[in-house]
């Protein structure tokens, strides 16, 4: 297929529209795209650890949540004199999330695939309980109220930036030897070890990077929403979305999570407006169908049809 000049022009047009959205979109559309970017970032981060190394992280929401609370605490000046402007708060959120991943991942990543998944499931819940118990700091079950500022526009750009960074990072990893090594862990970890891949280091670093992206997303979310509580930011639904979106788009690919995020956020919103509960069932059904019939997701489908190159770049 020859696309000549059309492709870059379309691309530029799309980017321009997104960049100028605050000027012509309603607050609701802005929020919707904010959410889309957020899911794209979270799904990409999930993809990094689960899609590439095969270590399915069922507790990803824990990192989002801890990021949300870190940024929330810093923005509400709960810790004595420790307060910070939002860019700092959000970045620190990412760092804290990475630290949590280090602490949890170090022991957890020793477990084999499915056992790691279950352990993370439990740990994510444990983190939520811990945050709820730390009431003086986090407000416990009452939630945390941040100063309400109409920061929709900067938040939109910031989240868009995060999504771009996540995708770029995935691209870099995918097209480098690092990506190959991660994939080797997924395919056969024992063999990878034998060949000299330092699996523990790779797994851990990937886990931490993945967590930090989710943490920053959480931090931005808290800043924009102005109110967070444990049930919302640690919601299992977040992990579910990350998984479904990545699998739909294609796990272990660069653009898979983005495609999944875009398609599923939009359909999710439409469905949710009319059939609030159907979208959980739909996500479930989607996962089943994809697993059985299209394990590689949309990207694999496109690759088979020749629309996309069969390379790791995609």
């Amino acid at each position: 297929m020859r696309w000549g000049v059309t492709a870059p022009v379309l691309l530029a047009l799309g980017v321009l529209m997104l960049a100028t959205l605050p000027l012509w979109g309603t607050g609701y559309v802005l929020s919707l795209l904010f959410l889309t970017f957020m899911y794209a970032a979270i799904a990409s981060s999930w993809n990094l650890i689960s899609g590439y190394t095969g270590y399915v992280s069922f507790g990803h929401a824990a990192f989002f949540g801890i990021g949300a609370y870190t940024s929330g605490i810093l923005l509400t000046k709960k810790l004595a004199q420790l307060s910070a402007p939002w860019p700092v708060a959000v970045l620190v959120a990412g760092v804290v999330a990475a630290l949590l991943a280090l602490v949890l991942g170090y022991p957890a990543l020793r477990l084999r695939g499915p056992y790691f998944a279950i352990a993370m499931l439990g740990l994510a819940e444990a983190v939520r309980v811990a945050v709820t118990l730390a009431e003086p700091l986090t407000g416990g079950g009452k939630g945390l109220s941040l100063p309400p500022a109409l920061v929709d526009v900067p938040a939109y750009y910031a989240m868009g930036l995060l999504a771009m960074v996540a995708v770029a990072l995935t691209h870099v990893v995918a097209t480098s030897p690092v990506g190959l090594r991660l994939l080797s862990i997924r395919e056969d970890e024992v063999a990878a070890e034998v060949v000299g891949v330092r699996t523990t280091v790779y797994k851990l670093v990937t886990f931490c990077v993945s967590a930090s992206i989710a943490g920053i997303a959480g931090g931005l979310y808290a800043w924009k929403q102005s109110y967070i509580d444990p049930t919302t930011v640690f919601a299992a639904g977040l992990t579910v979305r990350a998984i479904t979106m990545t699998m739909f788009g294609g796990q272990g690919t660069v653009w898979g999570p983005v495609i999944g995020a875009v398609v599923l956020t939009y359909t999710g919103e439409q469905l949710w407006a009319r059939f609030p509960f159907l979208h959980t069932a739909l996500f479930g059904g989607m996962i089943i169908v994809i697993l059985l019939f299209l394990p590689g997701g949309v990207i694999a489908l496109l690759q088979e049809r020749g629309w996309l190159p069969r390379s790791r770049r995609v």
Partner: protein, 295 residues
């Protein structure tokens, strides 16, 4: 929040212990089914909690519509869930049995979402319960909750029945053989596919039974499956180890842990107990949940 307890005496502790043990009954049934499925097929059934949930709703429906008491409803619900288990196995699980465990994990995860969403749509998310039994029974100065006592009894009987079945019946032995080594079992002339069907069906039936019992002890809502599932795994990790009877012991242990944790701190913290416990034990036994042949 501090709890200013007037006297922590032996009676109170015994009371806490009793509550904990009774709590274990329902967990045992759930874990037993989970254990069976994993043992025979190496499939981690992430949808097991949802099967319990369906059992609970079935009991609710039967009670509200036709006044069928839950204990009687068991006779209807168990075969129903058995059938559902067969269906799931035949249509979905059988396709991924020989694939990497991750695939089956994600598949069952999808199933659990599907079932939860369907339940939310069909039953609404309002909290409900079956007002069946209530009141306490006085045993040696301890007030034992009547509904829990009954549930425990039923769970114990069912567990013993299944245990006996696995031990002495022909198909029970076939199941255990398949669990040990499917290839050898096949060579010995055991219909391995059928064994798997049976295992999933039986496991689902047990989950349904657990749900029926849970319906008059706990609150019913579509998302209830998730918590039970995690507890089920904690139980298997604690005492399951491939042994069906061991799951019962593990369940009672978990119940005790939770009860005492809630007593020592508060109900909030006790929630986290099962999860952390699960994690710690998994760490200590990194070679896998059961130390059996790797999937």
């Amino acid at each position: 929040m501090e709890s200013a307890v007037a006297t922590t005496n032996a009676l109170t502790l015994a009371q806490v212990a009793a509550s904990g043990i009774l709590l274990g009954g329902v967990y045992a049934l759930l874990a037993g089914g989970l254990n069976l499925i994993f043992g025979v097929m190496r499939v981690i059934n992430l949808a097991h909690g949802e099967l319990l949930m369906l059992g609970a709703y079935a009991a609710l429906g039967l009670f509200v519509l036709w006044g069928v008491p839950p204990l009687l409803a068991l006779a209807l619900i168990m075969p129903l869930l058995f059938g559902l288990g067969l269906l799931l196995q035949r249509l979905l699980v059988s396709r991924v049995v020989r694939q990497p465990p991750l695939t089956s994990l994600l598949l069952m995860f999808g199933v659990s979402l599907l079932l939860t969403g369907a339940a939310q749509q069909a039953f609404t998310t309002n909290f409900r319960s079956v007002p069946y039994l209530s009141g306490s029974v006085d045993v040696a100065g301890l007030a034992l909750s009547l509904p829990r006592l009954v549930a425990f009894g039923v769970a114990a009987v069912l567990s013993a029945a299944v245990h006996a079945y696995l031990r002495w019946s022909r198909w029970g032995k076939a199941l255990r053989a398949t669990a040990q080594n499917p290839d050898v079992a096949l060579m010995c002339g055991i219909d391995v596919d059928r064994a798997r069907l049976l295992a999933f069906g039986l496991g689902a039936a047990l989950a349904g039974a657990a749900g029926t019992l849970a319906s008059f002890i706990f609150t019913i809502f579509p998302e209830m499956g998730g918590t039970y599932m995690l507890k089920g795994f904690a139980v298997i990790v604690l005492g399951g180890l491939g042994s069906f009877g061991g799951a019962f012991v593990g369940a009672v242990l978990l119940g005790l842990f939770e009860s005492f944790a809630a007593y020592a701190t508060n109900a909030q913290a006790a929630e986290g107990v099962a999860y952390v416990l699960l994690f710690l034990v998994l760490l200590v036994k990194p070679s896998g949940l059961f130390g059996l042949r790797e999937g």
